[in-house]
Protein backbone atom coordinates (compact mmCIF):
# COMPACT_ATOMS: atom_id res chain seq x y z
CA UNK A 1 0.00 0.00 0.00
CA UNK A 2 1.42 3.38 -0.98
CA UNK A 3 2.06 5.84 1.82
CA UNK A 4 0.91 9.41 1.59
CA UNK A 5 3.69 12.03 1.44
CA UNK A 6 2.94 13.14 5.02
CA UNK A 7 2.97 9.57 6.33
CA UNK A 8 6.23 8.91 4.50
CA UNK A 9 7.97 11.87 6.09
CA UNK A 10 6.50 11.03 9.52
CA UNK A 11 7.98 7.54 9.30
CA UNK A 12 11.27 8.72 7.88
CA UNK A 13 11.98 11.49 10.36
CA UNK A 14 11.02 10.74 13.93
CA UNK A 15 9.69 13.80 15.74
CA UNK A 16 9.72 15.66 12.46
CA UNK A 17 6.85 17.69 11.15
CA UNK A 18 6.69 18.09 7.38
CA UNK A 19 5.88 21.60 6.27
CA UNK A 20 6.46 21.92 2.58
CA UNK A 21 10.21 21.70 2.01
CA UNK A 22 11.15 22.64 5.60
CA UNK A 23 11.37 20.12 8.41
CA UNK A 24 10.67 21.57 11.84
CA UNK A 25 11.90 19.41 14.72
CA UNK A 26 10.04 19.18 18.01
CA UNK A 27 10.77 18.84 21.73
CA UNK A 28 8.62 16.51 23.79
CA UNK A 29 7.71 18.15 27.11
CA UNK A 30 6.46 16.03 30.02
CA UNK A 31 5.01 16.92 33.42
CA UNK A 32 4.71 14.79 36.53
CA UNK A 33 2.73 14.72 39.78
CA UNK A 34 1.34 18.08 40.99
CA UNK A 35 2.89 19.88 38.01
CA UNK A 36 0.96 17.67 35.60
CA UNK A 37 -2.25 18.58 37.41
CA UNK A 38 -1.30 22.27 37.40
CA UNK A 39 -0.52 22.31 33.66
CA UNK A 40 -3.48 20.07 32.82
CA UNK A 41 -1.70 17.64 30.48
CA UNK A 42 0.89 14.87 30.90
CA UNK A 43 2.86 15.90 27.83
CA UNK A 44 2.96 18.23 24.87
CA UNK A 45 5.24 19.14 21.99
CA UNK A 46 6.82 22.45 21.07
CA UNK A 47 8.86 23.53 18.08
CA UNK A 48 12.56 23.15 18.78
CA UNK A 49 13.52 26.26 16.82
CA UNK A 50 11.43 28.44 19.16
CA UNK A 51 13.53 27.73 22.29
CA UNK A 52 17.18 27.69 23.39
CA UNK A 53 17.22 26.35 26.92
CA UNK A 54 15.07 24.78 29.65
CA UNK A 55 13.79 28.17 30.86
CA UNK A 56 12.50 28.92 27.37
CA UNK A 57 10.72 25.56 27.22
CA UNK A 58 8.98 26.16 30.56
CA UNK A 59 7.98 29.69 29.53
CA UNK A 60 6.57 28.39 26.23
CA UNK A 61 4.37 25.79 27.92
CA UNK A 62 3.34 27.64 31.09
CA UNK A 63 3.76 31.37 30.33
CA UNK A 64 5.22 31.68 33.84
CA UNK A 65 8.78 32.02 35.19
CA UNK A 66 10.47 28.83 36.32
CA UNK A 67 9.81 28.00 39.98
CA UNK A 68 13.05 27.71 41.98
CA UNK A 69 12.18 24.36 43.56
CA UNK A 70 11.03 22.74 40.31
CA UNK A 71 13.21 19.91 39.01
CA UNK A 72 14.12 19.35 35.38
CA UNK A 73 15.35 16.37 33.38
CA UNK A 74 16.52 16.21 29.78
CA UNK A 75 16.35 12.75 28.22
CA UNK A 76 15.88 11.28 31.71
CA UNK A 77 18.95 12.92 33.25
CA UNK A 78 18.76 15.80 35.72
CA UNK A 79 19.55 19.14 34.08
CA UNK A 80 19.86 22.77 35.13
CA UNK A 81 17.40 25.45 33.97
CA UNK A 82 20.18 26.94 31.84
CA UNK A 83 20.84 23.71 29.98
CA UNK A 84 20.36 24.04 26.23
CA UNK A 85 17.76 21.88 24.48
CA UNK A 86 17.93 20.30 21.05
CA UNK A 87 15.78 18.67 18.39
CA UNK A 88 14.16 15.48 19.62
CA UNK A 89 14.90 16.06 23.33
CA UNK A 90 12.49 14.93 26.01
CA UNK A 91 12.30 17.67 28.65
CA UNK A 92 10.52 16.80 31.91
CA UNK A 93 9.39 19.14 34.68
CA UNK A 94 8.46 17.88 38.12
CA UNK A 95 8.18 18.93 41.78
CA UNK A 96 10.61 17.82 44.54
CA UNK A 97 10.66 14.03 44.78
CA UNK A 98 9.01 12.22 47.69
CA UNK A 99 9.84 8.52 47.36
CA UNK A 100 11.19 6.08 49.92
Amino acid sequence: MALSLTAYYSLSFQNTVCRGYRYSMTINVRFFASLRERIGVAQTEIQADSVNDVRDVWLAVSHQPLDEEMLVAINRNYASPDHTVADGDEVAFFPPVTGG
Binding site: A33, F94, P96, V97, T98, G99, G100
Partner: protein, 147 residues
Protein backbone atom coordinates in the same frame (compact mmCIF):
# COMPACT_ATOMS: atom_id res chain seq x y z
CA UNK B 1 23.33 -5.10 42.01
CA UNK B 2 19.63 -5.43 41.46
CA UNK B 3 17.02 -2.64 41.20
CA UNK B 4 13.36 -3.38 40.88
CA UNK B 5 10.08 -1.45 40.89
CA UNK B 6 7.00 -3.37 42.07
CA UNK B 7 3.33 -2.59 41.67
CA UNK B 8 2.34 -5.28 44.19
CA UNK B 9 3.11 -6.00 47.87
CA UNK B 10 6.44 -7.66 48.55
CA UNK B 11 8.02 -9.33 51.57
CA UNK B 12 11.44 -7.69 52.08
CA UNK B 13 12.79 -10.57 54.20
CA UNK B 14 11.99 -13.11 51.51
CA UNK B 15 13.54 -10.81 48.89
CA UNK B 16 16.76 -10.58 50.93
CA UNK B 17 17.00 -14.34 51.46
CA UNK B 18 16.30 -15.20 47.83
CA UNK B 19 18.74 -12.57 46.54
CA UNK B 20 21.47 -13.56 49.00
CA UNK B 21 21.16 -17.27 48.15
CA UNK B 22 21.25 -16.52 44.43
CA UNK B 23 23.93 -13.82 44.27
CA UNK B 24 26.28 -14.39 47.22
CA UNK B 25 28.25 -17.34 48.48
CA UNK B 26 28.94 -18.33 52.08
CA UNK B 27 32.12 -16.74 53.40
CA UNK B 28 32.13 -14.04 50.70
CA UNK B 29 30.74 -11.26 52.93
CA UNK B 30 31.05 -10.28 56.57
CA UNK B 31 28.26 -7.75 56.90
CA UNK B 32 24.77 -6.97 55.64
CA UNK B 33 22.77 -3.82 56.42
CA UNK B 34 19.08 -3.48 55.63
CA UNK B 35 16.60 -0.62 55.55
CA UNK B 36 12.87 -1.18 55.08
CA UNK B 37 10.51 1.77 54.71
CA UNK B 38 6.84 1.11 55.51
CA UNK B 39 3.72 3.19 54.91
CA UNK B 40 2.23 4.82 58.02
CA UNK B 41 -1.50 5.49 58.48
CA UNK B 42 -0.78 9.05 59.60
CA UNK B 43 1.14 12.04 58.24
CA UNK B 44 1.31 15.71 59.21
CA UNK B 45 -1.35 15.21 61.89
CA UNK B 46 -3.89 13.51 59.60
CA UNK B 47 -5.06 9.93 59.23
CA UNK B 48 -4.04 8.55 55.86
CA UNK B 49 -6.24 5.97 54.15
CA UNK B 50 -3.99 5.05 51.22
CA UNK B 51 -1.37 6.43 48.87
CA UNK B 52 -0.46 6.45 45.19
CA UNK B 53 3.22 6.38 44.22
CA UNK B 54 3.84 7.97 40.84
CA UNK B 55 7.19 7.58 39.07
CA UNK B 56 8.91 8.54 35.82
CA UNK B 57 9.31 5.28 33.87
CA UNK B 58 12.82 5.04 32.49
CA UNK B 59 14.28 7.86 34.56
CA UNK B 60 13.42 6.39 37.97
CA UNK B 61 15.20 3.12 37.20
CA UNK B 62 18.14 4.99 35.66
CA UNK B 63 18.52 7.27 38.67
CA UNK B 64 18.32 4.35 41.12
CA UNK B 65 20.96 2.43 39.17
CA UNK B 66 23.21 5.47 39.12
CA UNK B 67 23.01 6.18 42.85
CA UNK B 68 23.38 2.51 43.86
CA UNK B 69 26.35 2.11 41.49
CA UNK B 70 28.01 5.17 43.01
CA UNK B 71 27.56 3.83 46.54
CA UNK B 72 28.81 0.37 45.52
CA UNK B 73 32.02 1.95 44.25
CA UNK B 74 32.49 4.39 47.14
CA UNK B 75 31.96 1.74 49.81
CA UNK B 76 33.40 -1.23 47.95
CA UNK B 77 30.17 -3.21 48.33
CA UNK B 78 29.94 -6.83 47.31
CA UNK B 79 26.24 -6.66 46.42
CA UNK B 80 23.23 -4.35 46.68
CA UNK B 81 19.49 -4.87 46.34
CA UNK B 82 16.84 -2.14 46.04
CA UNK B 83 13.11 -2.80 45.67
CA UNK B 84 10.62 0.11 45.55
CA UNK B 85 6.85 0.12 45.25
CA UNK B 86 4.92 2.07 42.62
CA UNK B 87 1.16 2.54 42.23
CA UNK B 88 -1.38 2.08 45.02
CA UNK B 89 -0.02 1.42 48.51
CA UNK B 90 -1.90 0.81 51.78
CA UNK B 91 -0.77 1.48 55.36
CA UNK B 92 1.40 -1.32 56.74
CA UNK B 93 2.75 -2.25 53.32
CA UNK B 94 6.47 -1.94 52.71
CA UNK B 95 7.46 0.82 50.29
CA UNK B 96 11.20 0.42 49.94
CA UNK B 97 13.89 -2.13 50.66
CA UNK B 98 17.63 -1.38 50.59
CA UNK B 99 19.97 -4.27 51.41
CA UNK B 100 23.75 -4.14 50.99
CA UNK B 101 26.55 -6.62 51.58
CA UNK B 102 30.21 -5.88 52.30
CA UNK B 103 33.28 -7.35 53.96
CA UNK B 104 32.99 -5.18 57.10
CA UNK B 105 30.12 -3.44 58.93
CA UNK B 106 31.13 0.20 58.36
CA UNK B 107 30.77 -0.06 54.59
CA UNK B 108 27.34 -1.68 54.89
CA UNK B 109 26.05 0.83 57.49
CA UNK B 110 27.36 3.79 55.48
CA UNK B 111 26.13 2.54 52.11
CA UNK B 112 22.65 1.65 53.35
CA UNK B 113 22.10 5.15 54.72
CA UNK B 114 23.78 6.80 51.72
CA UNK B 115 21.57 4.94 49.24
CA UNK B 116 18.40 5.76 51.18
CA UNK B 117 19.25 9.45 51.48
CA UNK B 118 20.14 9.70 47.79
CA UNK B 119 16.95 7.84 46.86
CA UNK B 120 14.83 10.16 49.02
CA UNK B 121 16.32 13.29 47.48
CA UNK B 122 16.87 12.34 43.82
CA UNK B 123 14.83 9.31 42.69
CA UNK B 124 11.74 10.49 40.77
CA UNK B 125 8.86 9.21 42.90
CA UNK B 126 5.91 11.28 44.10
CA UNK B 127 3.43 10.35 46.83
CA UNK B 128 -0.21 11.33 46.68
CA UNK B 129 -2.11 10.61 49.87
CA UNK B 130 -5.80 9.91 50.25
CA UNK B 131 -6.91 11.01 53.72
CA UNK B 132 -9.42 9.20 55.90
CA UNK B 133 -11.75 12.17 56.27
CA UNK B 134 -13.86 12.93 53.19
CA UNK B 135 -11.44 10.92 51.05
CA UNK B 136 -9.60 14.15 50.18
CA UNK B 137 -6.29 13.85 48.30
CA UNK B 138 -3.01 15.76 48.61
CA UNK B 139 0.51 15.53 47.25
CA UNK B 140 3.31 15.07 49.75
CA UNK B 141 5.23 18.30 49.31
CA UNK B 142 8.80 17.17 50.00
CA UNK B 143 10.86 14.65 51.93
CA UNK B 144 12.42 15.76 55.19
CA UNK B 145 16.17 15.45 54.82
CA UNK B 146 17.81 12.72 56.89
CA UNK B 147 14.94 12.07 59.33
Amino acid sequence: MHIELRDQCFDPWTEITVFRDRMLSAGQYGACAVFVGTMRDYNDGDRVHSMYLEHYPGMTEKQLESLVNASCETNNLIEALVVHRVGSVNPGEDIVLVAVWSAHRKASFDACREIMEALKSTAPFWKKETLDDQNSERWVHRNTPDS
